[in-house]
Structures are given as C-alpha cells and as structure tokens.
C-alpha cells in the first residue's frame, strides 16, 4: 500500500496528527481553501455479553471518524463528516464541506476558539493494556454466576456487558492548533431480572467504569446489582398523591442532565432554554444548592482534556447558593455573551454545547438544608409522613419537556412509611423543574460518585406521584 492511501488511523498505532495535517494542508491548498479545522477520532473496542453461563455475543469494532470544517471565500462555514480517512475520503469531505459552506449561516459564523492553543490540563489517565476477549468472557461469566447466586428469585441477567475501548481523538486547525488525547476505558453493567411465584418480575442493576478491564470493580457491581434487585422484590402499589421524595444521586443527576438547557448558552440564544441572558445572577434554586460542571474531576473516567473546538476543559460554576452564575459555552456563544469559551462545545455546522460531568451538593457554609430534614427526624411532626425514595428514573427522552420545564417520568423506588420500606410497583413522578429546584429541603449522606457526576441524596417536597393503588 503506498503512502497516499495509508490510513492515518489504525487500531494498533492510533491517529497520526502530523500525517493528517499534511494531507489536509495539501488538499485544502489544491482546492483554494485557506481556513479549516478538523476533529477526528479512532477507536478499537471489544465487548462480551453472556446468558446463563454461555457466551451470548462477542463483539469487536474498529471505528474512525472525522469532521472537517472549512471557511469559504465569503467567510461562511460548511462541514462534512466521514468514516473514510483515506486521501479520497478526505478530498471528498473537503469539497463536500466547501459546497455546504454556500449555505452557511450568515448570522452566526463560528471562528477558531481563542483558547485552541492554550495550555491543556494535565489529566491522570493511565493507559491500560487490552485484555484478551476470552478473559473478558470468563470475568463476565463469573460475575453473572455470582449475581444469579445471590437470590433464588434472580433467574436471569438479561442486560449485561463487559467492554473495553482504546481510543484517540484530535483537533487540528489551519492556524497551527493541535490537540491530541489517548485514552483507555472499560465498563461493566449488570441488570438482573427477578421473579417470585405469582408475582410480577422486578429488575435493577449497576454499572462500573475504569481505565482498564482489569481495574473494574466487578464485585462491587455484582453487590450493588444484587442489593438493588432484591430490594425491589417485595412491592406494593402506591396511592396517587403528593409526597416528599428522596432522589438517589443517580436519579437527581439524570434529572439535572435532562434539564441542562437551563445552563446552556446555545439553548438560551436559540430561545429553547427556560433561562434568558438576564437570568445570570438570579436565584434559580434554594440558597443551599450548588452545581458545578467539572469534566476534570478525578473520578470522571474518560474525561476529555479539550472540547470539539480545542478549548481546554475546565471546572465551571453553574449554580452557587442557588444563584445562576455561568452558562456553558462554545466559541460562538461565548463571543455572543462577551465571555471566554468554557470547553463545552461539539463540532458542527451549528456547534452544539453540552455539559461534561456534574458536581452537585450543598453550598459551603449554607448548612446544606439540614433544617429541612429535621422535620423528618424521629419524634418530629413529619416522621409519620410517607417518603418516596426515587432510585432510578426512566424514559427521560420522552417524559421531559426541557423547554417547558415539565417532567412526567416512570421510576423505580420505595415507599418509606411507619418504619417499613417497600418497593413501589409502578408509578410516575411529575413536576416542574423550576418548582423542584426551589422545593429541595436538604441533602442526605455523602456525595456519591456515579458515571454522570457526583451528588448526595436530595430531598424534595411536594412532588406528584401517580400509582396504581
């Protein structure tokens, strides 16, 4: 194979930024394109699934992808994406992007990020060796066997998987920016299904992430999946009404993630956020709630050092003392707001903006709402009230209307009443996110690290629960 068709990406050696740059410069020059940038990624994956002691499916994948953005002679921007990193593929992507640029948005023209060459944060991300797929298989079979043995009612683990990935991504532009990051990650998930005679099936599970398959906390994942599944076996319907709810860290992070357009400058400019430009500095939640976006948190496995525009990732205060302090930005939205990009951009004809990893908890010095929880302390007036613990939320894609602030979501959880804890058969929780953020009465327990962020249990009063009773 001659050099002109050598892929600048393969599973063994990863992306070659310099080869890509030289090719793009040559191709762009021949097409008369002077300004361009490019985001590329390359990965190799292996994964296994099992079914009652037998391998169900074993998968491998080699993927490459590039998104190329060009500025035409009128300064308008066009893009094209492709999985074809050959010369022919890049040439076609370049001309495709130039053709698309004729329809570029004159009202909002992206620029290179002013931070695309700023120093990057140093991340402690050890590169772990890839394990043989048969080793993955044995590990998962053992985990499944362990989980099935935890309770007679657990008959299958219908959703399970052990996967490992070696990946690389880069960002380069015609002004000389060059970002590159290599990463290895691994994950295991176990979702068990349990059924007792004459009763409905119940299901729950757990997930763990690590930098390598050998580092995964497999036994912790089995313990948590077993504990959660068994805890839902004894269930009963719940009466429809208003309840004080305790969100698990996972559930509250899911909810905040679904309404992250509150903090998203792109959504604000597009008119689909509940926040407005003038919302900065206004109270959005109870005064003891703080939310930061921190992709650099050491527990964030797979953290990106830079965003799709090459801007370094950083910790950003979103809510402090319940007051909205900052929005997430791309280059274009930051320019519109007169601030610096925050490292939350994707790459596209219209650049998307999104959060990385949330840190949610009490505002330092605020007391963290402890007085709210005192109402439920033993001997207090609220002691006899039923509490609903929301373990996990479902169907966020359908049940959240982010631009309206409304949610109506099925959930798995428990009713805590009169000293007993019983799983709830089937129910939904509904409300308005703005009302919810102002109805938080406190936090409970230490913050828990999850794949989506870190958060303690969050108590909220007065939410509508619909049940079957």
């Amino acid at each position: 194979m001659d050099t002109s068709t050598t892929l600048p990406c393969d599973g063994a050696t990863g992306l070659d930024a310099e080869v890509l740059r030289q090719r793009l410069e040559t191709l762009a020059s021949s097409e008369g394109i002077r300004r361009w940038d490019l985001g590329a990624s390359c990965s190799t994956d292996t994964s296994v699934q099992v079914d009652r002691g037998e391998p169900k499916q074993m998968k491998g994948a080699q993927r490459s992808a590039v998104t190329l953005r060009v500025w035409n002679e009128d300064g308008l921007v066009g893009i094209t994406s492709t999985s074809d990193l050959s010369d022919a593929g890049l040439a076609r992507a370049l001309t495709g992007a130039r053709d698309a640029s004729a329809f570029g948005n004159v009202d909002e023209i992206p620029e290179f990020s002013p931070l695309a060459t700023a120093p990057l944060p140093v991340l402690d991300q050890p590169l772990r060796p890839t394990l043989n797929i048969l080793t993955l298989l044995e590990t998962l079979k053992e985990a499944e066997r362990d989980l099935l043995g935890r309770h007679a009612a657990i008959g299958t683990v219908p959703y399970n998987g052990l996967a490992q990935r070696s990946s690389e991504r880069l960002y380069i532009n015609s002004d000389g920016a060059c970002r590159q990051q290599r990463l290895t990650t691994a994950s295991i998930y176990l979702y068990a299904r349990a059924e007792e005679a004459g009763r409905k099936p119940r299901s729950s599970g757990a997930v763990r992430l690590a930098y390598g398959a050998a580092d995964l906390d497999v036994s912790g994942c089995v313990d948590e999946a077993a504990e959660r599944t068994i805890a839902h076996l004894d269930y009963a319907p719940i009466r429809t009404g208003r309840y004080t709810c305790v969100f698990s860290p996972e559930a509250f992070l899911d909810l905040i993630g679904a309404f992250s357009s509150l903090f998203n400058a792109r959504a604000v400019l597009d008119g689909v956020s509940l926040s407005r430009r003038e919302s900065l500095g206004e109270p959005l939640a109870v005064p003891f709630l703080s939310i930061h976006d921190n992709g650099l948190h050491p527990a964030n496995i797979g953290a990106a050092a830079f965003d799709g525009e090459g801007t370094p990732t950083r910790r950003l205060t979103l809510l402090e003392g319940g007051v909205l302090r900052n929005f997430l930005h791309s280059e274009a939205t930051a320019r519109a707001f007169g601030v610096a990009p925050t490292g939350h951009a994707g790459m596209g004809a219209k650049v998307s903006v999104g959060p990385d990893w949330f840190e949610i908890g009490p505002t330092p010095g605020s007391g963290g709402g402890a007085s709210g929880l005192d109402r439920f302390a033993p001997g207090s007036a609220g002691e006899g009230q039923g509490l609903v613990v929301i373990d996990s939320l479902s169907a966020l894609h359908a049940g959240v209307k982010a631009s309206q602030g409304a949610f109506s979501l099925p959930f798995d959880g428990w009713l805590v009443q009169d000293g007993t804890v019983r799983s709830i058969e089937a129910a939904t929780v509904a409300g308005d996110i703005r009302s919810l953020l102002k109805a938080i009465i406190g936090f409970e327990g230490p913050a828990k690290v999850t794949p989506d962020g870190v958060c303690p249990h969050v108590w909220v009063e007065g939410l509508s629960i619909t049940g079957d009773a």
């Binding site: 393969d10 074993m58 050959s86 010369d87 909002e108 299901s203 429809t240 004809a349 619909t466």
Partner: protein
C-alpha cells in the same frame, strides 16, 4: 447542487490484478466484490465456523436545520464499512470495521473467528462452493441519490415550512424545520448462499414549534417520513403541516396539566400505534425470547390480547418508513401476523433468533449500520382496523383521556412500558372537552393487551425511529383509533 453518490474509499478491496481506483461509481455493484467475499466466506468455513456472514455498507447522509427564517445547519456525511459475523452453534462473534482493505477485512474475520476459539487457516479448504448469482434488489435504484432534491431545493422547502409557521402560528417563540436524507447501499453475503444487494433511501421532514405566553409554554412537532421515494420532499405540503401544528400549539399553550389516575383512554390513529410498539411489539422479537424478558414465551396459539385485536408487522407497505426490499441479512421481508383476534401467532425472527429459539426467520433482521449485528426488529407494525367509528369509541367513555398526539416511549426488561402524550383532551360524558398536557401512560404488557377492547375503522401509519439492541432504525407505527379500558395516567 446535487450531492454526489458516495464512493468506495481508496482502500477498497479489489482482486489482485485489477487497477486500484479511488472512486467507483458502481460502488458495491462492482462484480469484483464477489471473489473478495467468497474468499472470506471460504476462509471462515475452513476455520470451522458453521456460518459466516459479511455485511458491506456505503452510506450518504444529509441533515438540514432551519430556525426562524434562516438555514442554521447543513450537515452532510458519508462512510463505508463492514460487519462480519461468525456462528458456531448458538454462539456468534461479530466484528465491524471501517477498513475495507483486504488486510482489514481479513483481520476482522480473524478476530471474529478468534472469539469462538477458531483460527484462520493458512490454506482455504474446499468447504464453500461459492456464491450464487447476485440477487440485486437495487437495479432500479442506482440513480435515487441524484433524483433527491438538491441542497438548494431542500433548504428552500424548509424555509417555506418555517415561513408557513409564522403565518399560521401565534405566540411562537421558536420555529424550526428539519430534513434528513439517509441513503444506504448494502451488500450481504453469507456461507449459506445468501448474496444480495440493495439500496435504501429514507427521507423525513419535520416542523417544530415552541409557543410561549408568559409562564405558559408548549412545544410540539410533526414529522413526516417515507422510504424509497426520491422526490417525496417535493410532495410534502408545508402549508398543511403548519396549519395542523399551529392549531395544536394554540390549543396546548394554555392547557392544564392532566389529573393523575387510572382512566379509560382512547388513542388516536397513526402515531398512537406507539402503544402497541412499546407494550407488545418489542416483546414479540426473538431477541426478547433469547433474553428471557418477554412474558409471551411459549404462548404461541394462546390468547394474549382482547379478541378485538389483530396486529401485524410487515416490510411491504409501499413507501412506508419501515419497508424493505430485503432485510439486513438478505432475506425478503414478509407480512407477519403477530396476533390474530387476540391469539399470539408468531414472533419476529432473525438469523440468530432462528438458531437460538427455533422461530423461523421473518425477514426482520435489521441493524442501524455495519457497526451492529442484525437482530430481530419491527418494520411497519400496526393494529388492524376494526368495525367502529372513532366517535363510537369516544362516546363509550364517561370519564377518560383522549390522546391525540403521542411522544416517545420505552419498554423495560420486566415488560413495563411507558409513553408520553403530547396532546391530550379530557373525555367527559362521551365527548371531548378540555385540552390537557403532561400525561405519561404506564402499564404492563400482559395486563394492558386484553384491555384494548375497541378498534376503529381508520387505520393510518406514521414514521418513527426505534432504538434497541441493533441501533436506531426506521420503523412505522400505526393503528386505527383504539380504546384501552383502563390504564395508569401519570400526571400532576
């Protein structure tokens, strides 16, 4: 401008002796692929695999977004790749790659074989007799991509749509139009003699609005999609779509939130069919049988639904989003009666499902792309028309909910399903009264199916997307108006 057809990359496989080409207008139609595929299949069989399947794909996508009165995003993409699957007994190994070079494909095969403890042989034994004549379903489709609307035409149509919204809407804070065109060429070869090629074309166009008036907000959308009709965007009527959407937005803007409880519900036709898709359709896929997550295992021939209900899944309806000339395993789709007068008749099955569960294939092996192994998936799935008028269904309800427009939904491993209602109305004393919003319907498949007691005579289909084990695929849901005697309505 006309977006050019995708080209096989410069690293594509060509037999030794042929000249290397960096651009092949013939794409997967090139007869040179035959010997490449035969070599791979023979090598896999010689290694000891029971069955080897190679899925080659080229794709070309265009996404457009119009906001208010401007085009804000033009997003073309193209690609190529292969998925190689090897079976040994009931086990299988699957490897996908973007590298279509000889060494890339051979390496992928070697990896897939290795997952099953098999080794690529040094020499290929005579264990594969070669591929039969190509079944080419795409002979009349090679020009489809060029027949699609140009970028200029498509952007112009979208702007017509957002302009029509402006004309007909009130309190509209956001007006959006979007268009997606997905072109895919596939070539499937397997050691059981499968050798087939097809071209698929899916186009969809949608309008969305966010209406706002003080604290009142309503966001709604309408989407229209077809398959295999290159000029369909030209037939889309933005005026009709805008009038319909703006009417709903005006109604829902000041609607109250629905009162929670358990009620009889009448679901409108078209996208109302999402209830059957989520509550039952997924549970009739052999992938669910394999997982042990369907309550309907071993119930073929037994009643699982009300006798008023007959349900069908097929890939044949002309132009429907879930229609196919062949599935992603090279099999022609069938019309599969799933439930007949309440009795379970058949499961949807793919190649792996047939090997693992014994249910014969139904032409339902589907995948998003070469990155996914095919799995049994729905195509055009709908409840058959019944004898009643929609008005009769509504008149039969004293107090309940009418769901005119549905959002998305999902089903979990215990058969618990849910879906959102975008536009609802109270039914009081047999008539529609106030609009209500914020409803989520939840239920258990086994309990709800017998409660679908009345079907109207106005069956219609609607385009949608379904995400599951083999990725996001184009599907159709559908039904006439139906009545569910009782279901839990989540609300405030």
């Amino acid at each position: 401008m006309v977006v050019s057809p995708p080209a096989v990359s410069g690293t594509a496989v060509f037999p030794q002796g042929s000249s290397r080409r960096t651009d092949s207008p013939a794409g997967l139609q090139d007869p040179a692929w035959r010997s490449v595929l035969e070599h791979l299949l023979a090598a896999g069989r010689s290694a000891g695999a029971d069955l080897v399947e190679v899925f080659l794909e080229r794709s070309d996508h265009l996404g457009l977004l119009a906001e208010q009165d401007a085009i804000t995003s033009v997003s073309p993409s193209f690609g190529a790749g292969a998925g190689l699957r090897v079976f040994l007994g009931e086990r299988d190994g699957f490897v996908s790659t973007n590298d279509l070079s000889p060494s890339g494909l051979r390496s992928a095969l070697e990896q897939a074989l290795g997952m099953l403890g098999l080794l690529l042989p040094v020499r290929t034994a005579a264990s594969f007799e070669g591929l039969p004549e190509l079944r080419d379903f795409a002979t009349s489709k090679n020009g489809w991509l060029q027949e699609c609307p140009t970028l200029a035409e498509a952007t112009s149509r979208l702007l017509e749509g957002t302009d029509r919204l402006l004309s007909h809407g009130r309190h509209l804070q956001v007006r959006r139009g979007s268009y997606a065109r997905d072109w895919q060429e596939v070539l499937v070869a397997a050691s059981d003699g499968t050798f087939a090629r097809d071209i698929r074309l899916h186009q969809s166009v949608g309008l969305n609005v966010l209406a706002a008036d003080g604290d009142h907000r309503a966001s709604l959308g309408r989407r229209y999609g077809t398959s295999d009709r290159p000029d369909d965007l030209r037939h889309w009527d933005p005026e009709v779509a805008a009038v319909d959407l703006c009417g709903s937005a005006a109604t829902m803007l000041h609607a109250d939130y629905v009162e929670a409880g358990q009620f009889p519900v009448v679901l409108a036709n078209r996208f109302g069919g999402v209830i059957f898709h989520e509550a039952c359709g997924h549970l009739l896929e052999t992938t669910q049988l394999e997982r042990g997550t369907t309550p309907f295992a071993d119930m073929v021939g037994q009643p699982i639904a009300h006798e008023a209900l007959t349900a069908i899944d097929e890939g044949l309806s002309d132009g429907a989003f879930g229609s196919l000339s062949m599935d992603d395993e090279g099999m022609e789709p069938q019309r599969t009666v799933l439930i007949e007068n309440g009795v379970l008749r058949r499961f949807l099955s793919d190649r792996a499902g047939e090997r693992r569960t014994g249910h014969p294939r139904t032409g339902s092996g589907r995948r998003q792309s070469h990155s996914f192994a095919a799995a049994s998936r729905m195509r055009n799935t709908y409840i058959a028309a019944g004898p009643h008028t929609p008005e009769e269904l509504i008149a039969s309800v004293d107090r309940g909910l009418y769901c005119k427009s549905m959002g998305g939904g999902s089903v979990g491993p215990t058969g618990q399903f849910n879906f959102a209602v975008e536009e609802g109305y109270l039914i009081e004393n047999g008539a529609l009264t106030r609009p209500v919003k914020g409803a989520t319907l939840i239920g258990d498949a086994k309990e709800v199916m017998p409660r679908i007691s009345m079907c109207a005579n106005d069956l219609e289909l609607a385009a949608g997307f379904c995400g599951s084990v083999s990725g996001s695929i184009f599907v159709t849901v559908g039904q006439p108006h139906i009545k569910v005697d009782m279901i839990t309505v989540g609300g405030r």
